[in-house]
Symmetry: C2
Subunit: 207 residues, 2 copies
């Protein structure tokens, strides 16, 4: 199995390659790619080696070619409609986030149980009561979902998403949500990002 | 330098250890800790070995002792006041998130430039206009900040935070924000989490 950390670094290589192309670079090297991100050239080559051979002797990597390869590996060489459940502060922030579109994700439908929050489209995304989940997910062939509901509702919402045909769930609720082994469950806890920060701050020379 | 992935895994070990203690476990092993999270026992020991020796022969790890050690490594053996800049949807979602408190982070002050959003406390957090940043950060001895403003405002906000004495910034805006080398800058792009999901979905056997 490919370690999660390798997949996350691939996402970072992809974005760096997209920047390089925007700045007019046709080729790059594991050294340049790594140094732009703070990784060694060896790390870059080791990560890519999980998936194949991508460099050209004497040239390095052709940027657009490597972008296509990485997108194919990550599965983002196609667009993905996403269901969002929970239209509170977090859900609305995710609805408006342009970063998803850049990588081929678009929130195709949003759900809530509060009748005040469903009805009018938000940021051009149609909103529905949770009761319409199965019908909308099937009709729009949605395979991915984001759960942004309170902790107490998260497992039940996940169960309904899985029953509706969802293959992967990104869970923001602060609770472990269980799923069958053929459904991918990724949990996000932004406190973990803050701990990355405190680790750096306590371990770096003070100002 | 300790790889970021190691630090992130430490955060996961910490949470798992906290669960184990809540469930009444006094000791654990690298095997148990790893299997609860999907890592090998070797990975767990390799990660901890960056920081010291924590196991007891014939016993394994004492949970509360290892929790204290990991918190000391991550820097969360003390509480950290945090400044939040940007009181839009994302900022308000972060203000209400209990997961931060669990690990010793508390949002001590929140800032915006929209006069309609500053004044009354939100979730018991005092709100201020950005003009009051330096005074409030100094007065409350804040060293960490979260940036949740639009991309166009992010660098300027970061510059002001650094000038005010902030040592570490968690940036949600979809733009690379630069900082001097003695300030830690961590960027969050939730699309990267979605790519972890698509990678899993395209690489797992279908239902
Ligand atoms: N992972 C993180 O780092 C992080 C950060 C911020 C918030 N959160 C979590 O994200 C979740 C949402 O946070 P928020 O600030 O937007 O909360 P919120 O209370 O503003 O919004 C929750 C929304 O979910 C809806 N809801 C409740 N039960 C539902 C159900 N069964 N089906 C569909 N919708 C339902 C509510 O009507 C509401 O609109 C919470 O669990 C919070 O703890 C996590
Ligand atoms: N990293 C991710 O995965 C992710 C996810 C969602 C949103 N975002 C980003 O987070 C940011 C906030 O998103 P949102 O949905 O809350 O946006 P929003 O428009 O609802 O809120 C932005 C807030 O920032 C305030 N603001 C603007 N300029 C400011 C300044 N100079 N100083 C202080 N406050 C200022 C505005 O008044 C507003 O209240 C955006 O950059 C968005 O792209 C990132």
């Amino acid at each position: 199995a490919v370690p999660k950390a390798v997949v996350s670094r691939l996402s970072l290589y992809l974005r760096e390659l997209q920047h390089l192309v925007r700045d007019g670079n046709e080729t790059t090297s594991s050294t340049q790619l790594g140094s732009l991100l703070g990784f060694t050239d060896a790390q870059v080559r080791k990560d890519l080696a999980y998936f194949g051979q991508f460099g050209y002797p004497g040239i390095g990597y052709r940027c657009t070619e490597l972008i296509d390869a990485v997108k194919r590996i990550l599965g983002t060489d196609r667009s993905w409609p996403v269901a969002l459940v929970g239209l509170g502060n977090l859900g609305r922030a995710l609805l408006g986030y342009r970063g998803f579109q850049n990588q081929g994700f678009s929130i195709a439908a949003a759900f809530d149980v509060d009748p005040q929050k469903v009805g009018p489209a938000i940021e051009n995304v149609p909103t529905f009561h949770l009761d319409e989940l199965a019908a909308v997910v099937a009709g729009k062939k949605i395979k991915l979902a984001i759960v942004a509901v309170p902790a107490a509702a998260a497992q039940e919402v996940a169960d309904r998403l899985i029953a509706a045909g969802i293959d992967g769930i990104l869970n923001f609720a602060p609770v472990t949500v269980t799923a069958p082994s053929n459904v991918s469950m990724v949990g996000v806890d932004l406190a973990i990002e803050l701990e990355q920060l405190t680790f750096n701050v306590v371990n770096q020379p003070s100002k």
